[in-house]
């Protein structure tokens, strides 16, 4: 059982508060959705959690260990995986090689100068790709894949590091609706199967309310609601943020 405890996270840019006092707890088996209008601070929140940005104050603890101040690669090594809003894979490698890179990194074998990389960890990489439905495309260059398929590869890469916590920034952005639901269903399955703790942001409300176990609503850097999908949907404040209050 893993637990990510976020307490009073704050971060400003040039005097403007992007994230102002966000607190929540993420546990194994949770599929926690973070939603909110554009500019609410969702991506900033993610960047604070995985070490890309340093918070002005607040703490992020993984099973009691403070993550604030560590570089992204250390946080990754402690078991916090991440996928990006804009897909970022290694475009000059094949699909399988992308996953193999993560496995090599996990095994601390990256400094090898002699044995070809393509032959190392190929089997486990293929197994992971099979799991996300990309087995048949393992040897295609990652740079020519359809957008939705790249998102699957990213998921396989994230799984390859055997994370206990997975941060997914808009995992289905740019995908067709059917693809979105399939990917969310797969994610939900993985959460159950591996006891993952997942935090994800999402614009597609079907994806959010269909699969999330809990929902956090962020507006102008602050959490304005937290609860089960039904509770959040019924919350008048959430409705006003999404449909607009005053004019």
């Amino acid at each position: 059982m893993s637990e990510l405890v976020v307490r009073d996270l704050q971060r400003s840019f040039g005097g403007v508060q992007a994230v102002g006092g966000v607190s929540f707890t993420l546990r194994s088996g949770n599929l926690l959705a973070l939603i909110g209008p554009n500019g609410a601070g969702k991506s900033t929140c993610f960047n604070l959690l995985n070490g890309q940005l340093r918070p002005d104050s607040g703490s992020v603890k993984l099973d009691g260990m403070e993550l604030v101040g560590l570089p992204p690669r250390r946080i990754w090594a402690l078991g916090v995986g991440r996928t990006f809003q804009i897909t970022a894979t290694f475009a000059s490698m094949t699909v399988a090689e992308n996953v193999q890179m993560v496995l090599l990194s996990r095994a601390r074998r990256l400094f090898g100068l002699w044995r070809p990389a393509a032959a190392q960890f190929r089997e486990p990489a293929l197994a992971l790709l099979e799991r996300v439905g990309m087995g048949s495309q393992a040897d295609r260059p990652c740079g020519v894949l359809a957008y939705g398929d790249v998102k699957r590869v990213e998921l396989a890469m994230a799984l390859a590091s055997e994370p206990t916590v997975l941060l997914m920034d808009e995992p289905t952005a740019g995908m067709a609706p059917a693809e979105r639901l399939a990917l969310m269903a797969l994610t939900a399955e993985l959460v159950r199967e591996r006891g993952l703790a997942v935090l994800f942001t999402e614009h597609d409300m079907d994806a959010v309310f269909g699969h999330a176990t809990r929902v956090l609503v962020l507006d102008r850097g602050r959490l304005i609601a937290e609860g089960s999908p039904d509770q959040v949907r019924a919350n008048p404040r959430v409705q006003s943020v999404y449909l607009g209050g005053e004019a």
Binding site: N38, G39, A146, Y147, A176, H203, V238, A247
Partner: protein, 237 residues
């Protein structure tokens, strides 16, 4: 009925390999305010950028005031009388308020209201008080006003207004709505993207609802307010 000021048909757009817009079609009549509605990520911003010629790759039939826009670069489109106000404001932060306006200045255009800094300062009194101030020292609402004023200096006949109310305090949102109504009264046509139903209903005549890059619904603002089904499907959480 005469030809609409802007006619968009079969608009496609891509970012890299991601296909963002798929067959958006809409029109904006002379003197009309049309709201482009949809959730985050539905493709509203991309639609406006694509009309303006600011996306890498697009395909469409685009007619504006009897001219074909589909092969023109952004600066030519702007000179024909299309004014673009981006959502992320993008004021020139090192330039003063007056200099920002100067960048937007274009010759007067027949059939469109002509703007001068003085006339704009009357419309946005806040700006008048800080004409020598640099953009770095302005609040979000002031920046939004400046972005709009800067575009108006080009004397456009059509305004593309991206998320004008986003991230603004309620009072500023109200000022913004007043400004849009004033512009309509001056004879400008406006296509604005908006997430806030209340803002859109306060200023727009018609609405187009898009979701995942496709047009889902189009009708008058009054019809949209009555249609719970559409709102629940495409706008609400």
């Amino acid at each position: 009925m005469s030809e609409p000021l802007l006619t968009v048909d079969g608009l496609q757009a891509w970012y890299g390999r991601a296909h963002i817009l798929d067959g958006i079609a809409l029109t904006v009549g002379r003197g009309e305010v049309v709201a482009l509605m949809g959730r985050n990520g539905a493709g509203k911003t991309t639609t406006l950028k694509a009309i303006m010629g600011l996306v890498e790759r697009r395909a469409a039939s685009l007619r504006f005031d009897g001219r074909d826009l589909s092969a023109l670069p952004a600066h030519r489109i702007a000179r024909l009388g299309v004014g673009y106000v981006p959502e992320d404001r993008r004021i020139f932060a090192d330039l003063t308020v007056e200099e920002n306006l100067e960048v937007g200045r274009q010759p007067p255009r027949p059939g469109a209201p002509t703007w001068t800094p003085e006339k704009l300062f009357a419309l946005f009194p806040n700006l008048a008080e800080m004409r020598g101030r640099r953009g770095t020292r302005m609040s979000g609402g002031e920046q939004q006003m400046l972005t709009l004023a800067r575009t108006l200096m080009g004397n456009p006949s059509l305004l593309l207004l991206d998320e004008p109310s986003e991230g603004l305090a309620p009072l500023i949102v109200k000022q913004m709505a007043d400004a849009v109504r004033r512009l309509k009264a001056e004879g400008l046509s406006v296509l604005l993207s908006e997430q806030s139903l209340s803002f859109a209903s306060a200023v727009a005549d018609r609405a187009c609802v898009i979701e995942t890059g496709r047009l889902r619904w189009t009708g008058t603002m009054a019809e949209l307010l009555k249609d719970d089904g559409v709102r629940a499907a495409y706008l609400a959480v």
